[in-house]
Subunit: 344 residues, 2 copies
Amino acid sequence: MITIALDAMGGDFFPNVNIDGAISATKKFPIKIILVGNKQQLEKEIKKRSNFPKEAIIIEHSEDIIEMTDSPSKAFRKKKNSSIHVGLELVKTKKAQAFVSAGNTGAVLTASTFILGRIEGVDRPVLSAVIPSEKKPFVMLDMGSNVDCKPTQLLQFAIMGHAFSKSIMGIENPKVGLLNIGEEKEKGNITTQQTHDLLEETNLNFIGNIEGKELIKGHTDVVVCDGFVGNNMLKFGEGIVKMFKTFFSEESKKSLLSLIALLLLKPTFKRFKKKFDYDEYGGAHFLGVNGISIIAHGSASETAIQNAIKMAYQSVKTNMVDTIKQALKQSELHTISEVSKNGS
Amino acid sequence: MITIALDAMGGDFFPNVNIDGAISATKKFPIKIILVGNKQQLEKEIKKRSNFPKEAIIIEHSEDIIEMTDSPSKAFRKKKNSSIHVGLELVKTKKAQAFVSAGNTGAVLTASTFILGRIEGVDRPVLSAVIPSEKKPFVMLDMGSNVDCKPTQLLQFAIMGHAFSKSIMGIENPKVGLLNIGEEKEKGNITTQQTHDLLEETNLNFIGNIEGKELIKGHTDVVVCDGFVGNNMLKFGEGIVKMFKTFFSEESKKSLLSLIALLLLKPTFKRFKKKFDYDEYGGAHFLGVNGISIIAHGSASETAIQNAIKMAYQSVKTNMVDTIKQALKQSELHTISEVSKNGS
């Protein structure tokens, strides 16, 4: 049985969305969940729920709470008994196989790196998100954990993203693209130009540069970029989707006719939400650490938490960490054989 | 009378959208237009139009056409008699006060820099776009002309964007924000951290870092970023808006009910288009060159061309280039006085 540690004290609506997300997840998947948080507070909330599955969810007490505004490194040093710390320790000591949190992203990243450690050959772990598109969801990384990236780091992101896409999204030979401002090889800044050269040398299915306007079409399975660009784009996209929602909700107040029309379109908007809402995609994977660590959005809903748990479950089931380890080793072998081939 | 040179051979739908955009613009604004392009071809097209205002639009012949796929620097060297070249020469020799093109962006940028020259004190000219938002449109720069930027360059972008916002958008004391992945001063990459320090020293109305998700709310008048990030975000945003359109148009085919509902919402979608479609905002200004040069989208419609001409007209009328010159001089004086103050 797969066991997942869930940060009960994370996110804007803790502990309730976490408890409810955990309950729905246990009904859908053959898993056990360890709710990590203040025992007293959690037990009080659980008592209110008649549908709580005592056999599938247990509580692990933690004392400290890392606030969303806390400094990640300071929080890591000073709050050793936080739900994030305790949850990740459960993974490290193999009492759980994955950790999920909607808490302070920086704090989860810092604690994951220090507690789980990095996979051999990884310079910097990377935050990867599953992004909806017209065709099908794709993996984009880095989404914000590394703001100044070297080409070799971007290369590692590509290898890890490729392994993730294969393992979790079930794509046979994922297409890898490099985010850039033009299709041609010589386009972009110095980092992307050098990364392009490196990616061409790999045995990944590298399809070249991909432009921002092409992303949403979904012709690429893995998109590589530095965390500064990735984070800004992700947030910009979220902002636009939110803006659409606000626009239509305000329009519905303008006239009875628009209200009726929008009500008629309810199934359409539902399909839209199903396809493009980030709630459906759960959370962002922190790849390159020696274990599974998933960060859900701070404003994650019950559905989002349930889907983040689903992702954790799939990652364990498909041995994602091992797949990444092997991919990194193979790329090293490939590089070595390329070097010896060129050298001979 | 303000005279504007329009590249008749630019864009995906030349020369027709350019001719029609020019005609509508002359009906709306007190301007003259010089259509730059192949005289024979243009005269043939013009003959088909009964509404062509002969007193307001004249033709200037150019021989070469720069294709959208041409290399900008090669095109600049080899096609000296292109519509872009001839049009910009008209501005340089003061036969026109502004140039508008929907042609090869790189070629227009290169030719503008070489033919018009840079304003004193400008290291790198910058492509700035007017971006729609919930509240009101704002200026974002750089949108793609400089992919590796130094903090001092970003500072200059801020000064030019501030002057543009004041001059063209009529904002008294524009709020300037620095695009970043967090609000706090210490967030971001090395470049944004150093730029933040520089911006704090200016007398601009600097409001600090602004995140991608905040952009669309429109609380900032000027947003500064490097061209790599700006271009990717702009194109990503365009891609998302396009994806929405595709989604709803496909939904309308799914059932009669959705079709009716979407027809009822026509005024809503019209309002949406008016507010968020980039056609309404005409083109991107290339700031920092010694003259007015505006680049419209390659797929610009007649409306977009008309609005790009409108922007050109406003820029001339408000003496935008002089405003930028003064702003750069003032910022220098400010810096010098700061230095002498600190030194004394």
